[in-house]
Amino acid sequence: MQNIMLRRRAGTDAPYLHHRQHRDAPLERRPCENPLTKAWSEHKKQSGNRRIERTAKMLDSFALVPCFHNEPRAGQHRRRCESPLQNHSDRRFRSRPGEGKGGRSRYQGPGIQIGGKENRHSVSEMKRLVMSVACRNLHDLALPFKLLTFARRSPQAATSKLPEPPIEPRQTGPQHPKFRAPSMRAFCMILAVLLMDRSSAFASTLAPDYSREIRPILADHCFACHGPDEKARKGGLRLDLRDDALHGGKSDGPAIVPGHPEKSALLQRILTTDTDDVMPPTGEKHPVKSQHTELLRRWIAAGAPYSKHWAFESPIKSPLPSRLKQNSSAAIDHFVQARLAKAGLRPSPAASPEQMARRLYLDLIGLPPSPAETARFVSEARKNLGTAVESLADRLLASEHFGEKWARQWLDAARYADSNGYEKDLMREQWAWRDWVIQAYNRDLPYPQFIVEQIAGDLLPGRTQDQLIATGFFRNGMINEEGAIVPEEFRMEGNFDRMDTLGKSVLGLTLQCAQCHSHKFDPISHEEYYGLFSFINNSYDAQSRVYNSEQQERIAKLQATLDDVDRRVRESRPHWAAELDAWGKQVLDTSDRYDWKVIEAEDLHSTSELNHPTTLPDGSILTLGHRTVSGDVYMIAQPAMENITGLRLEIFTHGDLPYDGPGRSFLGTWALSELIVEAKRPGSNQWTALRLAQATADFSEPDGSMEPEWSNKSLDKDGKRRRGPVAYLIDTNDLTGWRADRGRGRRHTESVAVVQFETPQTLPRGTKLKFSLRMNHGGDNNGDKNTMVGRFRLSTTTHPHPSAPPVDYAAILALRVPEARRTDKQRRTLFAAWRHSVPALKSFNEEAEAAWKPYPDPVTSILHLAERGPEDPRETRRLDRGQWNRPKETVRPQVPAVLHPIEPGNLPRRLAFAQWLVDQRSPLAARVAVNRVWQALFGRGLVETSEDFGLRGAEPSHPELLDWLAVDFMEKGWSHKQLIRGIVTSATYRQSSRVTPEQQEKDPGNQWLARGPRFRAEAEVIRDIALAASGLLSPCIGGPSIFPPVPQNVLDFNFFGMDYWIPAQGPERYRRSLYVFRKRSMPDPALSTFDAPNADTSCARRPRSNTPLAALASLNEPVFVEASQALALRILREGGATDARRADYAYQLCVGRAPRPSEKQALLELLDSRRKKISEGWLNANELATGDPSRRASLPEKTTPRDAAAWAVASRVLLNLDETLTKH
């Protein structure tokens, strides 16, 4: 008998298998004397079943049960990883094994302590009790099975003498066994067993459904150690596949013998009382409940049929009865009513037209209807409710506000934010992506296109700027710019987060479990995870400029002008091709003469220690991560130094730099204050500067002072810094620097500088050279205002007089590319460089230069993915335990075998992957999308765990309905609008949301839908309701996020100062909440109290809380207060001349119906009492109405400040009504 345990060995990373022999103290056998054990002996002789024998032994040696306290404790025995995100593997620094532990002296928590005197007593008592009860029923105990069943609880019962353990708080899933008096328990147990076996004749002959009833049990109790994860698998036993289960593990033989529960080790292991053998292991998790054991027994008896998890099978449209319309609303009603009947519930009557109008408005566009709109709908509904709903739905689906409402849930899933997160949490511009999502919903972009453009829009043939913007999806994650981070570590964190996002939003799978090891529950192996990962790993974290359509036209025109110039040049010089060739050869010859030797860095760092530069395969140095406004990046090397005359400094672009670089500033530009070369001879400790002279470059800006955006009080108090000529690079003056910005449209290009040593350098072997690039030209605040070079390379030459040719370096690099492989851009660059070299083409060159001048400044920019080219591929390796710095073997791109296959064809890898995600054959894509829509409308998805459709996710409440809608969704061109229309026109959706006591009792969560949806609106909708009702709402769509007023005490407590947070004034202040700036480390104080997520990670499902702090926010937050003041004036302006009529109007504005008499009365009383208090001088009318005692509200005619004040108080109440805050 071997019990294989997993123990985490402290001090090492790897868990090791501990083959545990029998307990240290050997079991003492006692002669079997009582009738029970006799019966046992008889049976085991006959059956020869090892398992039963062990159990018999177990019974024999009941008195020895106390030795349980040598048992490893729960959890120490084996652990299931429940936190895939946890960086739990790096335990290098843990204490050595056994420290402070080991043996009996090991600490034992009081919760589960077994053993000690009391227990021994209780165990023997238990034994006596069991025996006596059992013996009385001996004639019934023919089957060993029963014995096993009834005896198995005894170890737990043994703990009954311990103080009553308190209730497990918050334990989800099956509860721990209740601790009750043993006698009662044993008795019930026996009764149950007897009934169970006797009733087998009349027990349901149907096999339990594997997917619904059996797999959840196995998943809960078994799969962690006997599931898909081979590394965690114990005893070689796998239970999630039928063949494997039938074959069994190493120690037991078949785990399942179809038709024979009594021979199936699976069941025996659950039922045995042998603490060595019982499964799940003693102390570990919760034992299998008896009704589940019975289900398992029946299932095995019925032949143990397996089926694939429902979510991995393609959805099928079950036929609807022919009497019904064959559309989605009929299907919804059909399936929902069928389920209601089963639950013994009846559907509710239709909601009132007023309620219906408000529900549709809030659901479809996220804004409440105006009184006029409500009235219109009510009158239409009187004629025909059905058509009224349809026509309103159509109107709202066509509204441009539709996209604003529906974008929000996708923004949550895509973790959209306006800042980078982590410590610095710098501002980012990503709103172009947000606007793309709004428009995608408004355009009703078919879902596959919606996804493909976001995953791989950059790779679509002839991609548009919009499609590039769409790929911002994956870049919505956080960026760590904390000082000195290793960029690769956080690139990997970013990728893990992308996988998580993909899992939650598109696949509906908890992918991240497989980051460190094969998934414990879902069939996704560790290797498959990295297979998926590899589709998105070969990419740059790119940034591009975004132009509006007018600018795009201007750029196209400019390009046309340039093309025209070039065409005319070609016409005027028929031999241009030969000339260009000859010129090219000459340029290359000159350049090659220098025989540049790239210097290999042996050490890279920065004096400030804030930057961690890295070397690329071509010897260039790339600096990512923290962006500093001053300081240096240096490399130490030992190049051969014999007669070295000069250095070449090449400055390169790179896909990970802003706009491809080559600089790291917010423009993608750079400035180099100084290049310093120092030498340290062998044996010396002293760095000595080597003098440089004669700097030349392919291009320098003219001399000038620094522009205002780079002003920096501490580096340059008096604004003395200059920039321009390359000579500034070696003038030993930090206040001057070389810059080579070619201006808008042409700044993202390579540059080169060549410097000479004052005298040729010959240095002894072993001399270390330190090359520092000093950067002292940045602006205030680390981040965007830096002027760092992103990527550079240094080389040496021995040529007597090296210099940089006055030819655009990009052209020289293009010359080195074989002609056939040159890109369009390279061809143009080359042609332009040649054109400039020909004096006769002066006028053409001037014309071209003039064309560049009006190149536009972009409107904004976008972070997006860009694919790495063939010259710079990144292969994906499996990361051991998910650790970024422990790459193992290369992984080929692959998708989980359990899902549909991928057919890459000739497509770029990421594009093929994107298409695979939303392939018609995907069992998940449509279901997940449909479920998200259902969740938005009904408050919970048909699958409640909308982020997890896997084995541990919730079962669908209406499986056929989910599938019907999923298939219909695909058939109707994956149209969100059609899907939504189908749902909102169903009778199910149109039900009243009133909760009857019967419904409350039978279905408090409304999962069977016996009533319409009723829940607190989402954060953004709540704020928008207040703005819309008050008339303050600014209906503009899109654009930069706005800064709402945030209390100073919140702003103050940010790690980094936020001088940019200037609260919006005027209409901007009252933009829809979708546009409220989302700063990750400072969640919006108002919206977050209503559960708006802070975008740290993907959120597929918001919680809905109901707290006093939320009440304070909607009562007192400035924008809510301003809305109540504005609402008061609107009511006075539009609501009529008396308070009674105004009350009607006010109710219409806020809740979309007229007040009931008692409601009106209460409101009028409040108004009267306030008027009285104001008259009496207790309250200041102006202050109530405007927040300022000296400022009078702009009053409508025939109203007084007192009216405005009283109504401001009343309006604040109205905006806080439960009905105002609720979608119902």
Binding site: Q76, C81, E82, S83, L85, Q86, H88, F93, G100, P166, I167, E168, P169, Q171, T172, G173, Q175, Y422, D425, E482, A484, V486, F496, T510, E609, R952, S993, R994, V995, P1004, G1005, R1014, F1015, D1052, F1055, M1082, P1085, N1094, N1106, P1108, L1109, A1111, V1121, E1159, A1162, E1165, L1166, R1170, L1179, E1183, L1184, G1187, A1210, R1212, V1213, N1216, L1217, D1218, E1219, T1222
Partner: protein, 476 residues
């Protein structure tokens, strides 16, 4: 107000009061909670407020936690871990084998060693060695359980703070305080169960340091702000007096009650209750913050000159007042310790700012009889390198051995746990990983850390992930 109105108003008030006292305990509130719990798929164990106190797995020694989080990472070498050998080797390079696979954040590991800037001496009966710049903490040495071998994985502030507070370097997990509140509920009736107090500047980890991650929103830490409204939006709009607020809320309740009569939704009942709770907060929070009734000698104990002056000392006293009022978890954030340079002067100033009040909190809690049931925890997210940074007066981030101290509820007193090597670089005996610390603290609160879980994405998530062992050596 005419008679009829007055009667109606009075009746309404009576109903409010009756409702509040009768139903808040069980009736209506229970109804509300049921729906909340039903959504969370949790059986309702305790009727009433979802934050109502709950029994843990077993009787814990501690009932509450006050966590004095010293963000920025204090140097253990100047404060808690005396290293005479490091003094001797000042200026020398560290042994090469020590640096294998070592990762510092900024410096090259092979930087010269820097001798401790301050002297240590044995303190109290127990003889625990503490730095000369901790004169007040030294006075309570006999109450402290000092751990010199804390370890974490992260070397950058934001991930390390998140790790220390949530058990994971990845954002989006519930904080220790949230887990505690989730498990125990709160005894504070008119205050949030998990209160956050801040001094110095904002933390690297931001709001996620006290976030509730995937737990329901009501388990979030709620900042009690040092300036302005202590709780966000606590003040009524300008011009609203208390009477107007009460009248508004009475009307609101009446109208909401009318809705409830029609819609029958327990959520509405919960909302009615929450507006009343909000009103309670409006009175209880100012009372809490009003230190004018604290006697002068108590203010002196904490070193508080002006009780209105925000800062660490005032927060320590507030922490005691919160503990007295049944708040389950109080967390102070003091982000000031990131001494890459200017170590000698800055760390001394940090001690001037925090030492006296930290020690005062221990003395005060003890004197009030609260120390035995309160865990006080003092420490940052990692330690500092024995190697120098920034000329000759700074230290880089170091995660292999650092010090924290704890006191109170079930912890050993006057005890030093673990030992780092002679340079204060590695733990050589009794290392305590962050997960172990969490496991131990949960144990003291009465939880088996493996069982305090919440199902999220199909997994039973825990504060300690799959790791963590209770450290018996810390337990009294």
């Amino acid at each position: 107000m005419n008679l009829a109105q007055e009667i109606r108003r009075e009746t309404a008030r009576l109903i409010t009061r009756r409702w509040f006292f009768r139903d808040c305990g069980v009736g209506m509130a229970a109804l509300a909670t049921q729906s909340l719990l039903a959504r969370e798929k949790r059986p309702s164990k305790s009727p009433g407020n979802p934050l109502a106190p709950r029994a843990p797995h077993f009787q814990g020694k501690a009932k509450r936690v006050i966590y004095l989080f010293q963000a920025g990472a204090p140097s253990h070498l100047e404060l808690f871990d005396p290293k005479p050998e490091l003094t001797k080797r000042d200026g020398q390079l560290p042994p090469a084998d020590l640096l294998k696979d070592y990762r510092a954040a900024f410096i090259k590991p092979n930087s010269a060693l820097l001798g401790p800037k301050y002297k240590f001496a044995p303190r109290g009966q127990c003889g625990m060695e503490l730095s000369e710049i901790l004169p007040f903490t030294s006075e309570v040495a006999d109450e402290l359980c000092l751990v010199r071998t804390m370890q974490t994985e992260a070397v950058n502030h934001a991930p390390a703070q998140i790790m220390m507070n949530t058990g994971s370097q990845i954002f989006g997990r519930p904080s220790f305080g949230s887990w505690t509140l989730y498990g125990l509920g709160s005894e504070g009736e008119n205050l949030p169960g998990y209160v956050v107090l801040t001094s110095a500047k904002g933390t690297s980890g931001g709001a996620s340091n006290y976030g509730c991650g995937f737990l329901p929103t009501l388990y979030s830490g709620i900042p009690l702000r040092p300036t302005g409204d202590p709780l966000l939006y606590l003040s009524n709009p300008r011009g609203f007096d208390l009477e107007t607020q009460r009248a508004s809320l009475d009307t609101l309740r009446e109208l909401n009650q009318a809705s409830l009569n029609v819609n029958g939704d327990p959520e509405t009942a919960a909302r009615i209750q929450n507006y009343e709770m909000a009103y309670q907060l409006q009175t209880s929070a100012p009372e809490l913050l009003d230190l004018s009734k604290e006697p002068r000698h108590v203010l002196d104990l904490y070193g508080i000159q002006d009780p209105k002056q925000p800062g660490f000392a005032r927060n320590c006293l507030l922490a005691r007042r919160l503990a007295e009022r049944g708040v389950r978890f109080v967390q102070l954030f003091h982000e000031a310790w990131d001494q890459h340079g200017n170590l000698t002067k800055a760390i001394k100033q940090n001690c001037v700012d925090t030492d006296r009040a930290s020690a005062a909190l221990i003395k005060d809690l003890k004197q009030k009889g609260l120390l035995d049931s309160t865990i006080v925890l003092w420490g940052g997210e990692f330690g500092r390198t024995p190697m120098v940074q920034g000329g000759n007066d700074g230290r880089d981030h170091h995660n292999r051995a650092f010090s924290i101290w704890m006191a109170g509820g079930g912890l050993k007193r006057g005890h030093v746990h673990g030992e780092s090597d002679e340079l204060g670089f590695n733990a050589v005996r009794d290392a305590v990983h962050v997960h172990d610390l969490h496991a131990t603290l949960l144990h003291l609160l009465g939880f088996d850390h493996r069982k305090l879980s919440h199902r999220f994405q199909g997994l039973d998530m825990r504060l300690t992930g799959i790791a963590g062992e209770v450290v018996p050596g810390l337990l009294a």
